[in-house]
């Protein structure tokens, strides 16, 4: 090649970035877009308030006996409900991840970034991290709102709301992340398979509600119709809500698997994390394989 030294130096003035800087740049762009999206802000604030107030008013009066049966003592329905709302919000946010990806594909930004020196892995890691940031913020907000509603309802103290205190909050965040990974992967798979934002939107909005209703989210599984109990046993929402609820109440709440090998709440958390972790591995594996395919330069 006849390119001279000086010209080569000029060409290489912009050298791209390290992997971690690429992740940071990608993360920043997605967080900025999330902040700009009025529906995200609206959804993240209004939806949990609506769900907490409406469901607790609707079911709060009639669930007392059922809850006492499962939990052993009198518990507030608001507290029982909050982990369900946390998980439902996480599913909604995770669903948006794929919509963001397919939007990026449709408006050309995806290819633009592929043609830039950005590391391939950083493109996806940065985006996944931005999804997780949103989910963590939502989780903390929903937990806070849950307490506000509980306080308005019965004036309960924080100690009765979260038995496990700060460690419990961190634990719930961790559970929500493990849970959301699977749904983030699912929505990205939907996006990559359909390559169409409308279809993706339909798919990711279709899934959360039936899954939440056919689980331990709103009512103890024992009061569900038998066929729903069967669904609830294999429903990841049951494990996500179960683990978060165990942390909130400080006791073993998982009834679908009778694990007694550990002590107390760990009899819920360990099996839940194992189930959700396996689901994560499978779905994230599929999503990564599909992402590799669309971002490779092999003609297809």
């Amino acid at each position: 090649m006849s390119t001279t030294e000086t010209e080569r130096a000029v060409e290489q003035r912009a050298t791209g970035n390290s992997f971690s800087v690429d992740v940071w740049i990608t993360l920043k762009r997605w967080l900025r877009k999330t902040r700009r999206n009025p529906f995200v802000i609206f959804g993240a604030l209004i939806t949990p308030i609506l769900l907490l107030v409406l469901f607790s008013q609707l079911f709060g009066q009639i669930t007392g006996d059922a809850l006492r049966g499962v939990m052993g003592t009198d518990v507030s329905y608001v507290t029982y409900l909050t982990p369900a709302v946390v998980i439902l919000m996480a599913m909604e946010a995770a669903g948006n991840s794929g919509i963001g990806l397919v939007d990026d594909m449709e408006n050309g930004m995806f290819e633009k970034v592929l043609a830039s020196p950005t590391h391939r892995g950083a493109i996806f890691l940065g985006k996944a991290l931005s999804d997780m940031v949103l989910i963590i913020v939502q989780t903390v907000m929903t937990l806070g709102l849950g307490y506000v509603v509980l306080w308005l309802d019965s004036g309960g103290s924080v100690g009765t709301y979260i038995q496990t205190r700060l460690l419990g909050v961190l634990g719930i965040i961790a559970i929500v992340i493990v849970f959301s990974l699977a749904f983030t992967a699912f929505s990205n798979i939907a996006a990559l398979v359909t390559q169409d934002s409308e279809s993706t939107t339909v798919l990711v909005n279709l899934l959360p509600y039936p899954l939440v209703f056919m689980s331990n989210a709103f009512l103890p599984i024992s009061v569900l119709p038998e066929w729903m109990q069967a669904v609830a046993t294999v429903n990841p929402v049951t494990y996500g809500v179960g683990a978060a609820r165990a942390l909130l109440f400080g006791q073993d709440v998982l009834t679908v698997l009778n694990v007694t090998a550990f002590s107390g709440i760990w009899n819920t958390i360990v099996p839940a994390v194992v189930v959700l972790g396996v689901l994560d591995l499978v779905l994230v594996g599929i999503a990564v394989a599909l992402l590799r395919r669309v971002s490779s330069s092999q003609a297809s």
Binding site: M1, S2, T3, T4, T6, E7, R8, V10, E11, Q12, R13, A14, T15, G16, N17, V21, D22, I25, K28, R29, R32, K33, R36, N37, N107, G108, M109, E111, K112, V113, L114, A115, S116, P117, T118, S297, Q298, A299, S300
Partner: protein, 393 residues
């Protein structure tokens, strides 16, 4: 490149601007050389000897050797492209929809791997060292690619970060680019509020943040109104004059003619001719005489061709059928045109239109490939008027 300093004078690129402009002058003189040469070559790539000689002095920007790209469904989008583009050149791919322009450009910018052959861009192999290629080029895709939720400034800043433009240079670079593409006054508006032309200009700016030695523009003006397109042309000419090599694809014949130092006519994934626009035009063999008949049936057009042959005015010149009548390419079209009109009237034809013009690239397309550039508009002749008709899409 690309910037106005506070005194209002253009900042030259950091590389050796003088050497570049000399190279450019050299190329321009070669170009005029070619035009007089009127090389004809039966459909294969024409490479003027002058260009070959200078390629030792001027560095090569893109070298493509027998590049093929076949999609997994068996579509052969690119079938054996050979190409050598010098630094500082403004080079174009001209061809209709589906000719393989975008596929070719995507292999050059590392978005697609060639299934055969090799491509070197700025000295880096696109397969072995894609990241080095990516840092050294700017790429503007055919579809406008901006993040509509970000402002113009944020879009350019994101591109600066992506390409690793040093932090200390970013602010001034962003301002320079906003000025270059005339978006300084709307810098802090979200791109979703922009018109198509503004988004395109923003897209151009983001492709230039790292002062790339080479910029790829894939149909940069498709779908724009003439005014927006002319403004973009000025920007492209400006960055080229500042030393950036530009590789452009277009279906607009006039765009290639206006901008390109050299161009390749591409059809069915093959380059059917490569030369300067003027040299290609000279292949047509003179000016174009178009005759519109009142009743342009096949029969009438065949008769008219007979009448032209019998008149003896255009012996050995090509006569083509057009939608409206016939077209003759001839060195003496202007001189003998009126005589032919007279002869046609004698032969009993009603001539309702008559036009002599210099060959356009559409005529070139017709002469080289036997087809017009666009299937939708058969025999569409380009008027010499600077406004490109939108029908070519």
């Amino acid at each position: 490149m690309s910037g106005v300093n506070p005194e209002g004078t253009r900042i030259l690129p950091q590389r050796d601007g003088d050497a570049r402009s000399q190279q450019r002058m050299q190329r321009l003189s070669e170009r005029s050389h070619c035009t007089t040469g009127s090389e004809r070559n039966g459909g294969t790539v024409i490479m003027s000897t002058q260009t070959t000689e200078t390629s030792n002095v001027s560095a090569t920007s893109i070298t493509a050797k027998n590049v093929e790209l076949t999609y997994s469904d068996g579509t052969q989008a690119v079938r054996g492209i050979d190409l050598e583009i010098s630094e500082g050149e403004f080079f174009g791919f001209l061809g209709p929809n589906g000719a393989g322009k975008t596929t070719a450009i995507k292999t050059f910018v590392t978005l697609l791997q060639p299934t055969a052959g090799s491509v070197t861009v700025n000295g880096f192999d696109v397969v072995d060292d894609p990241r080095a290629v990516r840092t050294s080029i700017g790429y503007m895709a055919q579809e406008t690619s901006v993040d509509e939720e970000l402002t113009a400034r944020e879009n350019i800043r994101f591109a600066c970060e992506t390409y690793g433009v040093p932090r200390s240079e970013r602010a001034s670079r962003i301002d320079d680019l906003l000025a270059l593409v005339d978006l300084a006054d709307v810098a802090d508006k979200q791109a979703q509020e922009f018109s198509g032309g503004m988004k395109k200009r923003l897209d151009v700016a983001t492709a230039l943040v790292h002062e790339p030695a080479l910029v790829f523009l894939d149909e940069p003006t498709t779908g724009l109104d003439p005014r927006a397109r002319n403004r973009l042309w000025e920007h492209f000419q400006e960055i080229n004059q500042q030393g950036t090599t530009v590789f452009l694809t277009t279906q607009y014949l006039e765009e290639a003619d206006e901008l390109c130092d050299r161009l390749s006519v591409i059809q069915d994934g093959k380059l059917v001719a490569t030369d300067s626009p003027d040299a290609l035009k000279s292949q047509v063999g003179g000016d174009i005489l178009e005759i519109t008949l009142a009743d342009p049936t096949d029969e009438q057009r065949a008769h008219a061709r007979e009448a032209v042959r019998e008149s003896g005015l255009f012996e050995g010149d090509t006569i083509e059928f057009t939608n409206e009548g016939i077209a003759i390419a001839s060195e003496h079209a202007r001189r003998d045109g009126t005589d032919l009109l007279f002869a046609l009237r004698e032969a009993g034809f009603t001539v309702t239109g008559f036009d002599v013009h210099s060959p356009t690239l559409d005529d070139v397309f017709l002469a080289i490939t036997g087809e017009t550039a666009s299937d939708e508009t058969p025999n569409e002749q380009q008027p010499d008027d600077p406004v490109q008709p939108e029908v070519n899409r």
